[in-house]
């Protein structure tokens, strides 16, 4: 039997021991003595979330294809095991070998959302790795961060040796060969970091010095050595059909959030929604070819036995060969009872036709990401959808048998007025009304339409047109949400409407971290020491711990959230070259304020700067 780091008795005492034992189908086991590099790859959240992440599946497969590397997984132990491990001084371990993370060469942590920051400290702490990079010794793993949050890694810069900026498929080979070379030459940790910093996309925070103005803004952000680049340029895959992608994804035993095979059809997005960070940092759009996708679909379904495949991208409707791909999958796998899931589709005749063929119309609901209630505000955020689109799409859907509709909105958008936000309620009511206008009474069979409107709170993100914009406070968010909620109660069709909104304090905190600087590491550390962990889980979010941490660190949240930044301010993430230029973002910020719409990349190039990679339309 494979060995477990936790005792049998302990495994039987915690919730879902399956989270900690490995042994899944397609998990990779190697002889620890036959490899040169041991890499622990971590998603700092619970197993069910971490196992649902495509990026880790890609890197796990890519690393393990190398004979000299063994990549193993580690996730945040759930709170029950966390407590046991602290009480009994059990060090954190990887799922495959069950060896201590501390003994690995690398600990790679994916940073998918800001609210995982305290969980990073949990992982380091349980592993017995010093929290601060500068306190680490030659014995400790190199702690490397990747993923979208590295587009402003400054709040957590102190905790990482390296950030890998951009797409993971590109420069790890280089990084590994420098690592091996350095090891062979008996070089130090510092030597390695210094040479790693020369690789494209590799950011070593300890090699940069930040000074501040009296008002707390950044005065200068400069490398401390001449051979360390001033600007770190993101990495991206240039040919999506000639790049590694797993044939054999891991198959968990327990039900995870994304319990299906994931086929990434393209990267990037042609829409330039001004609030969306992913839409900017993954530019330019790169599609995968039909043949590549057909081949991967087959291999992944065969090797996993999964009964569902999902087509993934930021906006799958914009994938140019979508029709052919979906028809192929339906044709090929109908007899094998494979379910096809199509998230993020724009609702129109085509998508409704496809969806009615792959899902149970009566049970499923349709989603419109309207994002704002009024057309004026939709123009400000450059969300291409119009009320006409929503009405036409929902009418088609009602005729097709759907009677559940979800509408997504944001509260707290730049230039937002009370009139704009009340439109959230009015628009929802008009969608409900649309059902009764479209479907004659005798065909409704007593079924009432259900329109669920959800509001999240707008958080300005780096590398978007709104990176300079002020954000609302938690109190403002709540006031607005209540205003909308009250309006819903007054609507004619209020019995067919439901309104829900996100946790306001959590959104505020995410806003602080999203555009934060190095001064915040103190707050994160204090909050963690006061028990903050699993912040993205509403039930474990400890608002008080954070409030105390801010007070103790003497840091004002408003500096990061409500303050409108000057256009010439040095922003903490200015050292990153993400492709899109600051000039473009400034233009977009002006267009936003003037309510001017910018066409999508396919209709007209707006000169965002990502064209320099030579991959645009």
């Amino acid at each position: 039997m494979k060995h477990t780091a936790l005792s049998d008795e302990l495994l039987l005492s915690v919730e879902k021991p399956e989270r900690y034992i490995g042994n899944e189908i397609n998990a990779v086991y190697k002889d620890r003595d036959s490899v040169d590099i041991r890499f622990a790859i971590c998603f700092p959240d619970v197993y069910e979330i971490g196992m649902s992440h495509l990026g880790i599946q890609i890197l796990y497969d890519m690393f393990n294809k190398r004979e000299d590397v063994w990549c193993e997984r580690v996730y945040s132990p759930w709170t029950d095991l966390d407590k046991y491990m602290r009480d009994r001084h059990i060090p954190l371990f990887t799922l495959e070998s069950q060896d201590k993370v501390k003994d690995f060469d690398f600990l790679g942590i994916t940073l998918q959302y800001e609210m995982c920051y305290t969980n990073i400290l949990q992982v380091l702490d349980l592993s017995g790795i010093p929290l601060c990079a500068k306190e680490r010794s030659e014995e400790d793993p190199i702690v490397i961060g990747g993923g979208p949050c590295t587009y402003n890694p400054e709040p957590i810069a102190e905790f990482f040796d390296i950030f890998y900026i951009g797409e993971g498929e590109t420069v790890y080979d280089e990084l590994f060969s420098i690592y091996k070379q350095n090891k062979d030459q008996k070089g130090s940790r510092e030597d390695f970091l210094r040479s790693a910093a020369k690789i494209r996309g590799i950011y070593v925070p300890s090699l940069y010095d930040v000074t501040y103005n009296e008002d707390g803004t950044i005065k200068s952000f400069v490398p401390i050595f001449e051979d360390v680049p001033e600007k770190v340029s993101k990495n991206l895959v240039t040919d999506m059909d000639d790049v590694t992608y797993p044939d054999k994804p891991l198959v968990p035993f327990i039900q995870v959030t994304q319990d299906r095979v994931v086929l990434e059809v393209m990267r990037g997005c042609i829409r330039g929604c001004r609030f969306c960070q992913a839409g900017q940092i993954y530019r330019p759009v790169r599609e995968r070819g039909l043949d590549f996708l057909k081949d991967k679909a087959k291999k992944m379904l065969d090797s996993t036995g999964q009964d569902e495949i999902t087509l993934s991208s930021l906006s799958t409707s914009d994938y140019s060969e979508l029709r052919d791909l979906v028809l192929f999958l339906i044709d090929e796998y109908r007899d094998r009872y494979v379910n096809i899931s199509l998230p993020s589709l724009r609702i129109d005749k085509f998508s409704l036709d496809i969806m009615s063929r792959v899902q149970d119309v009566k049970k499923s609901s349709l989603t419109f990401a309207s994002e704002a209630g009024s057309q004026r505000l939709r123009n400000v955020i450059n969300k291409g959808i119009t009320e006409e689109d929503i009405m036409r799409g929902s009418a088609e859907a009602f005729k097709g048998g759907w009677n559940k509709v979800k509408l997504y909105f944001m509260l707290g958008l730049p230039t937002e007025t009370e009139e704009d936000i009340l439109e959230i309620s009015h628009l929802s009511d008009r969608v409900a009304m649309n059902y009764y206008d479209t479907i004659p009474r005798e065909e409704r069979k007593g079924i009432r339409v259900m329109v669920t409107a959800s509001a999240s709170f707008f958080i300005p993100k780096p590398f978007t047109a709104f990176q300079w914009a002020p954000m609302n406070t938690a109190d403002e968010f709540l006031r607005k949400a209540r205003l909308v909620s009250d309006e819903f109660k007054k609507e004619l069709n209020h019995k067919s409407l439901k309104f829900q909104y996100h946790e306001n304090k959590l959104s505020e905190l995410e806003g602080v971290m999203a555009r934060g600087d190095r001064k915040l590491s103190k707050v994160i550390r204090l909050a963690y020491e006061k028990g903050a962990m699993y912040d993205s889980w509403a039930e474990s979010f400890k608002s008080e711990a954070w409030e105390e941490a801010f007070r103790e660190a003497g840091i004002d949240k408003g500096f990061y959230t409500t303050r409108e930044r000057e256009l010439d301010e040095v922003l903490p993430w200015d050292f990153i070259d993400a492709g899109v230029t600051k000039e473009f973002l400034k233009r977009e910020w002006e267009n936003a304020k003037a309510g001017i719409v910018t066409p999508n990349c396919r209709d007209k190039c707006s000169g965002c700067g990502a064209g320099k990679f030579g991959l645009c339309y």
Binding site: M1, L11, P17, G22, N23, Q255, G305, Q306, D307
Partner: protein, 266 residues
């Protein structure tokens, strides 16, 4: 069952790390094994078609087994050994299909067929009973009635354990023979020669009257140890799933025959 379809019964064992996989996840696991191994399973009609699969008595997390069963409706089949090999080729370490039979048309579902289950129970090293378990078994076997209270989420009822325990015997074995491959992670065997009790029992396992081994062990303890009510409450789950190491050896039908008879194949 649809015309032309057949039903097969699959026997498997569950050891090592797989003992941590719960019942529902084991079902989900086998659905995928069947897809991977290319077995021609039949699917239900409707918008979310699923394999027509029926498991016998669920196995608790932490319990190992040499005798788990499920029935599967198939559209076509090859031979028992071919299907067994295909499934085992794509299996996770710790689960192995050991037997497959073709069921006669009117066989009741695996779940409905189960009458009794045989278990081997040992105590986790260091948690051996401090009461005389051999004596307890003797008392139990000669008693005319042993009543216990069975608590469920909804109700509490007194049941006659003597009617539900087909047999219970006890053996003394050296620790090195109880754990030939060594103990579980975290357990320490100080003296491999030390003799410990090993309980072999056959318990009712029908859907209405399922008796878990821990219930029998606690009843045996109660025959030996007089405890006050307060302490009883506290001890209700002791010894329980972290102190008892249980292996289910076999499931039996109403004729007390294994759900797959040895040697039956196709």
């Amino acid at each position: 069952m649809k015309d032309g379809n057949s039903k097969i019964r699959i026997k498997f064992n569950k050891h090592g790390l797989m003992k941590y996989i719960g019942h529902l996840d084991t079902m989900r696991y086998f659905q995928k094994v069947i897809r991977r191994s290319g077995i021609d399973a039949a699917y239900s009609e409707g918008f979310s078609p699923h394999q027509i699969m029926s498991f016998a008595q669920p196995l608790s997390v932490g319990v190992e087994s040499n005798g788990e069963y499920f029935d599967l409706e198939v559209k076509s089949y090859t031979s028992a050994s071919d299907m067994k090999n295909k499934m085992n080729e794509t299996s996770a370490e710790g689960i192995e299909v050991t037997d497959i039979t073709l069921l006669p048309e009117k066989t009741p579902k695996a779940m409905a067929s189960v009458e009794a289950a045989e278990y081997t129970v040992v105590f986790r090293p260091g948690h051996e009973p401090d009461w005389d378990i051999s004596k307890a078994v003797e008392v139990f076997n000669s008693a005319s009635s042993v009543k216990v209270v069975k608590k469920t989420k909804k109700s509490e009822r007194e049941i006659e354990l003597k009617d539900l325990v087909h047999s219970v015997i006890i053996q003394e074995k050296a620790l090195k023979d109880v754990f030939p491959e060594g103990p579980f992670s975290g357990d320490i065997i100080e003296d491999p020669e030390k003799k410990v009790p090993v309980i072999h029992t056959v318990l009712s396992a029908s859907s209405g009257d399922n008796v878990k081994p821990a219930m029998l062990i606690r009843a045996l303890r109660d025959l030996m140890v007089k405890t006050d009510t307060a302490k009883d409450q506290e001890n209700e789950e002791y010894p329980g799933r972290t102190e008892l190491l249980i292996t289910r050896e076999e499931l039996f039908d109403k004729n007390m025959k294994p759900l797959i008879e040895a040697g039956s194949t196709f």
